[in-house]
Symmetry: C2
Subunit: 167 residues, 2 copies
Amino acid sequence: MSEFEIRESEVALDDDPALADGDGHVVFIGRVSSPWKQRSECPKNLRQARERGRSASVEVVAPYRAGLLGLEVGSRIILLSWFDRALRNLIVQKPKHAETPRGVFALRSPVRPNPVGLHIVTITALDLDKGLIGIDAIDLLDGTPVIDIKPYLPTTDSFSGPDLQQV
Amino acid sequence: MSEFEIRESEVALDDDPALADGDGHVVFIGRVSSPWKQRSECPKNLRQARERGRSASVEVVAPYRAGLLGLEVGSRIILLSWFDRALRNLIVQKPKHAETPRGVFALRSPVRPNPVGLHIVTITALDLDKGLIGIDAIDLLDGTPVIDIKPYLPTTDSFSGPDLQQV
């Protein structure tokens, strides 16, 4: 946690979601194996991760492996991760190179009330018995929990246009 | 819960995630207001929802409203919802019109170990003080909790190609 610092103009929540009872619970269905062991070397987004050219994998734990039936090598999936090493209480943030602070819901920062990450990746290998999914790249630290996998559907999920300004 | 039935060839988990202690917890940051009060009338996906031509909204609760700073009318967001009325224990499912059963991670079904829904919608109105976000359409029941909002970034999130076969 100490890797994250609160910068000037950032706003913390009065009640830290990390310390709340919670309104619902998640179970970890597996974990990511990635080349990135420390935050300083971890790509900040998937574009950077792909440029590094390092593959990664997801290992789904035994009870949930049957859920992989129907996935295919070459298809894209949406991984939902659980940023287990991120703060949850910064509601307005000022990314290092941003000129003005922004609300967390206008950012893809891992620091958010519910630390769910969204990563669209391509399946490069698949072993249903071992629960192993090879993926082309990932912007997550080694060992990060995974809470869901969904098929990426271009007819539903693909939209063109300019990005909301990010930093 | 009784609205969901287990069909032949479907597989239930031995340990229901809904009854587990959980590995992490979520807080509800708001709720969806939608025209759909009952499951029978609710569109099955966002394409269907858009065809119905009914708008909807999200109300973010007071503590989290500062997180909306930087969002803009006309831009797309990714809503992460919490399917609070769905079962969590079906790991292999046979959608009504499918020929063969599929794993939950190859489906966008609301019935999944962690009941997180993903919805890409366009912001049609925005009131930061009231925490109100107008959206073009939604495939969620009225009152469904929201756990996260992220900006949709075409450069990161848009990919073409055929859909994994869905039903």
